[in-house]
Symmetry: C2
Subunit: 528 residues, 2 copies
């Protein structure tokens, strides 16, 4: 290192560090509330609705309950609203109520390899924080498990400590089961626009046909999105991680926590799709004995295993952990809401993104009918509906893997000439046990190559279907035009021919029209 004279630094290092301080995660998000989606009046209100609905849906799904969720917004003053969210979920045991709603990074979702909408342990505590930041008031939670007592808790967050502060608590005798959260917000604004709570609810209903949603807007208008299916979705379950693309750090962490005696048994029991023969394949590549204690695995050894795994073929991850909406349900929802003249859906097989996390892509396109989005100047735009684990993503499309995949497709090749301005709706649902969001606001998926590839493939598939439909439609249209033209002139033609050869005009006309019909007229769908 170069030797230098101490310069007369005006502020010495010691001085600079005298204000060194540690802050809590709540303080962090309080100062950076835009990270959680609390930016702008309209978006902030949508974020609140989003967190509440997500939380309720997850609770119902995990408990195997057909969800009934009511969101009510009431205007109390300028930019001042009261929100209420009520669900018929399993309720929350009293000892966990304050942590769920009043402590960030505390919860059940974070560390489990399970497909849930929420996954960060921040969202619903974020609602409490935002409510108290804008109004200075606590939120009120009522929760019953059906056991005969409903717990009512008013709580705030102690920001410095990231702890819930119970302001008031009482028990009510009631066999009601479910959870209700109620609070006030300031600095927010209700809007019926694309980014508002109503559109959020509508899209949530499309992606969750098994749930009934009631939305009561600030004008008191009540909209109910009835469930179109009574099939309780398969319950999300924890699945073992898939060995492919597992990173070394994750692998070491698992090995350290493992109770297995050998690395070989650790591999077999704690990962999916790892059989004895796969372990043997790994053993043949690595330079050490897999009989080793997994808790003593060195970084370099773990690296060898991860590298070996990368070069071996494994079965795709099990699908039990993933809960796609299902082709039928997507189709039903699309037909029901968009009434298109053409629709196509496709679900790709599950795949794996970095970190060994399984994911699956469902795509639908709709053309004509109510597809596309009407814009204020009266024009029409192609609409892209993005979903992650059935949750609509309304914001930050710019950096989102789903949008990138959509943009990467050359839609002209699929006969969609003016992609931007067509009566075309693209629906993409990405399901995964861990969605790699770009930010805690969870509105945009990080551009993982595997994810983009899968979405792109699915879009090209439905694109081809659209092309077939459209080409056929175009050909039919052209034939129809020729048919109409020829039929129109057939009378004159028949009269002319009759004058020339003296045959009966009506006979000629009949023959002529039969000929035209035979050559050009066909009823939809049969051979060309």
């Amino acid at each position: 290192m170069a030797r230098k004279k101490t310069v007369d630094v005006e502020k010495t290092a010691d001085d600079m560090f005298k204000e060194f301080k540690e802050v809590s995660v709540t303080e962090f998000f309080r100062k950076n509330k835009s990270h959680l989606g609390y930016a702008g009046k309209i978006r902030s209100l949508t974020t609140v609705v989003h967190e509440l609905v997500t939380n309720s849906l997850d609770a119902c799904e995990e408990a195997g309950i057909l969800p009934e969720i009511t969101i009510k917004l009431k205007q109390l003053g300028q930019d001042h609203y009261r929100f209420t969210c009520q669900d018929n979920g399993p309720g929350i045991p009293i000892k966990h109520i304050s942590s769920v709603f009043g402590k960030m990074l505390a919860g059940t979702k974070f560390h489990r390899n399970i497909q849930l909408r929420g996954q960060q342990g921040i969202g619903v505590a974020g609602v409490t924080l935002f409510s108290q930041m804008t109004t200075g008031k606590p939120v009120k939670i009522s929760s019953g498990t059906g056991s005969g007592v409903v717990h009512e808790t008013k709580l705030m967050i102690d920001v410095r400590k990231n702890n819930a502060e119970i302001v008031e608590a009482r028990d009510i005798k009631d066999r009601w089961r479910g959870t209700q959260i109620e609070g006030e917000l300031k600095g927010v604004l209700f809007s019926l626009a694309e980014y508002g709570p109503f559109e959020y609810m509508r899209r949530t209903a499309i992606a969750n046909p098994h749930a009934t949603f009631t939305f009561i807007d600030p004008e008191g208008r009540k909209t109910t999105f009835e469930r179109s299916s009574k099939k309780i979705p398969q319950k999300p379950c924890e699945i073992k991680p898939h060995p492919k693309n597992m990173d070394v750090d994750e692998f070491i962490q698992m090995a350290k926590a493992s109770k297995g005696r050998h690395v070989s048994s650790f591999l077999e029991t704690e990962f999916s799709r790892v059989s004895k023969s796969k372990v043997a394949e790994i053993q043949s590549t690595v330079t050490f004995d897999l009989k080793k204690n997994p808790r003593r695995l060195a970084w370099s050894e773990a690296e060898e295993i991860v590298k070996a795994i990368a070069e071996i073929d494994f079965m795709a991850p099990p699908t039990e952990g993933l809960c796609p909406i299902g082709d039928d349900q997507v189709k039903k929802a699309v037909l029901n809401i968009l009434e298109p003249e053409f629709e196509a859906t496709i679900a790709r097989s599950p795949s794996v993104h970095s970190g060994g996390v399984p994911f699956q892509v469902e795509v639908a396109v709709a053309y004509g009918g109510n597809a596309g989005r009407n814009i204020s100047d009266g024009g029409l735009r192609t609409e892209v509906m993005r979903f992650a684990n059935r949750v609509p993503l309304l914001f930050d499309a710019g950096g989102c893997a789903i949008q990138k995949a959509v943009n990467s497709v050359d839609w002209k090749r699929y006969e969609l000439r003016d992609f931007e301005h067509s009566p075309f709706t693209i629906f993409v649902n990405l399901v995964s046990t861990h969605i790699p969001y770009t930010s805690a606001g969870k509105q945009s998926v990080s551009d993982d190559d595997e994810i983009i590839k899968e979405i792109r493939m699915a879009l090209m598939d439905v694109g081809r279907k659209f092309k077939r439909y459209h080409s056929k439609k175009r050909r039919e249209f052209e034939k129809e035009a020729r048919y109409t033209a020829l039929m129109k002139y057939s009378t004159e033609l028949a009269s002319a021919v009759s004058q020339i050869n003296g045959k009966d005009e009506q006979k000629i006309l009949g023959d002529l029209q039969d000929l035209i019909k035979k050559k050009l007229r066909y009823s939809g769908g049969n051979k060309e």
Copy 2:
């Protein structure tokens, strides 16, 4: 509440919550590393360089040192690199080294109202985390304050506890002053593209003309961006918050922490631009006596004050806390790097965004020369260079307030016909004591209305300058064309006139050309 029978929920609430767990902030970001910008091989490497450079620049600036920063990348294997960052900053006192580099949300920057590049207390600890996550190895920090001892520390982060773990430490006798951090990374890739570390360094050099940067790329090529100015930028200083747009929550927090005896004195001493007469104005609006103890202020009273403030005019926030690059410096940098045929710069007066935080906007445009961005197919695209507190923002342009402001301008009105494909570079630097980023990755500014408005105004200003230049250039071009054409035919014309009136042809030609010159030829810049 409706009374319901307990349904046979397959998984009871108690079951669901048995895995309830609290995670540390490091664990959170470990699992969500994309929030910090660690997404994709190229971007991850740029993020590391960004965090290191940012950290060094801040340290130098606070200590009033002209920065000399060297970044070296060395390839060790496929997707495997070593990084070194050395600066001539003030060094870090030994007791703080482990917290700065090994503990998230610990630091000096978070809670101070001061313009620094870093503001979150996450960035550089994020580098340590990412390095150990991909290689299993500690980072090595050497730091000296010029006192005669250089401390060398190898450290890792205990992810579960969010604590630094010192792996090795030793002291070396050396009077060197500065900080060096060295570590390894896997799963990253060096690229010369727009999103790579080299472009990052180039743009950082543009926005920091007082610093010298040396960049040694993995091929061993050394590039030095010499400082073009020896003026030490004004040191960032803490400023009192501005009362405008202060939110109630922030206000209450300050009041509670205040040592003042009355709300009135609290207002006068702890805010900028609040004079006795302004306090009197506030008093005339609110329903209670401002002689009240600030620590006893009720939420509703604080609301009254905030509301009163919103309706009163205050002077703009003091500029001492803001460190813009400066018109001259921006111009110098733009001319130096882009060599354009036209450039215009503008700095708006400081303004205030939500939360009472002052900010200021500097904008430059350059046209012709090396302005614009060459794309791979040989075409040219308009280039937008976004900066926040002099830090280049390379990613996530889609959701960024700066990009939105650029897009909101109707460039056709300023004679830029094909905005997308022009030799045009737009430079925007947003400075603030708190930049409202959309995510912890700090690549995109949240769309605050005030910020967008200020940037838009500045862009329209430089747009008008460009239009004047361009209209004039166009008129000159048209005149030039007419002049050339008339001169070309003047000989024939003179000859024809001479034949008609019998005067001397050369005399007529001379007169004619004088006339054309007088009417149409002018040397650039004088009146038309």
